[in-house]
Amino acid sequence: MDANIYKNKKPLILFLFPAFVFMAVYLYYPFFKNILDSFMQIKQLGVSGEEFNTPWYTNYVEMIHDQNVWTSLKNTLIMMVVTLVGQVGIALILALMVDNITKGAKLFRTLYFFPIVVSATALGLLFNLIFLYDKGMLNQFLEVLGRKTLIDWKGEHLALFTMMLPVMWQYVGFYFVIIITGLNNIPEELYEAASIDGATKLQRIRYITLPMAHNVLCTCAVLAVTGALKVFDLPWIMFPKGMPLKSTFLTGTYMYYQTMEVKNVDYGAALAVMIVILGVVLSKVVNTIFKEKDY
């Protein structure tokens, strides 16, 4: 019966054609050209590579020996942990709380979604002003409280914390909305049955809500981990060129730095290939850890 409907395949191809052409031109072609570029010598942006690198794998060997690559990988790993615990964790706690209150759920949803709507560049400038050493918002607040020495938020000790705080703060609302939609799909009868059997609120959360929201949490974890690999605009505005002595590079910002500032385009292409491979491997790992169960 199904085979009959798809007997005539021509209209299907017609419908899928425009989207496929668009993706082929703007996604697949640049992707494979980039992999090719990482093995070639490229003089400047916009000029395609003429000849291959002398040993064709030079860029990858350089990547292993480059100290900044290891710094950026370490920072990105810290960022992933912060994103998982901070963004998804806080969003989960907030969603569980909002799910259990009677009034104001819609108001909280709107308020928590605010930072995502604001562009990340504008947020970067805002946080620059907040963390400014001389009369920024936080230091002014400390002065009001009476502290004599001001904190250097962008110095070496606090730079990573200052960079990760806005990134974490911005996307909590995004995961909050995803999780709360997932929580709304849990049928009410389970909660009623549990309360008949005498379960307290905490037990209901632990035995019903969390297992049923497993799939949603898995999706959020994959998004958070791959997002940490790609985050660029907020850290770049606050710490351009890995500011305190190149110690705050992330994979996204380092790739941009190599391609646009140092103009070492083929090395940037090799970094991009590394980021993609890392992203695919990590999302597979996260998927197997938070394995999706069918209920």
Binding site: D2, N4, I5, Y6, K7, N8, K10, P11, L12, F15, L16, P18, A19, F20, F22, I90, L94, M97, V98, N100, I101, T102, G104, F108, L111, Y112, F114, P115, V118, L126, I130, D134, K135, M137, Q140, F141, V144, W169, V172, G173, E188, Y191, E192, S195, I196
Partner: protein, 137 residues
């Protein structure tokens, strides 16, 4: 919400005014605290946009009343920096992106829906009818 009422009826509480349980108050407190951290920076920017530059650096928490109030910043944005044409560009980009995404994604999403039209095979639908299908999405 529903589950709270059902719990009450099952435990047959006497009908009286609902008392604030401390746990509920704590939950609301935490939620309001997070809402403040989300909304306050934007309020801060908004209230500072009415102050002159040096006043922001010296006194950023006060409301712009009386002496501090000035609209010079907004005047500068609209006249010197021409933020209006930036708005026009953004609106144009948004409209084009929206139309393009609906068109391409809508076309690509249609084939799985052909199963819902059992009375006519896909090959027999003429172009105006497929256009009608797209508009009804």
């Amino acid at each position: 919400m529903k589950q709270k009422e059902m719990t009450k009826s099952f435990q047959s509480r006497p009908a009286r005014k609902k008392r604030w349980k401390p746990s509920v108050a704590l939950v609301y407190l935490f939620l309001i605290f997070w809402a403040m951290t989300t909304v306050y920076p934007i309020i801060w920017v908004f209230q500072n946009s009415f102050k002159a530059k040096d006043k922001i650096l010296s006194n950023s928490f006060s409301l712009p009343v009386g002496n501090l109030y000035t609209t010079a910043n907004y005047r500068k944005a609209f006249q010197n920096l021409d933020i209006f044409s930036a708005y026009k560009n953004s609106v144009f980009i948004s409209c084009v992106v929206c139309a393009g995404v609906v068109l391409l994604a809508g076309l690509a999403a249609l084939p799985p829906l052909f199963r819902c039209i059992p009375w006519k095979l896909p090959g027999e639908l003429s172009i105006p009818e497929t256009g009608g299908c797209l508009c009804s999405l």
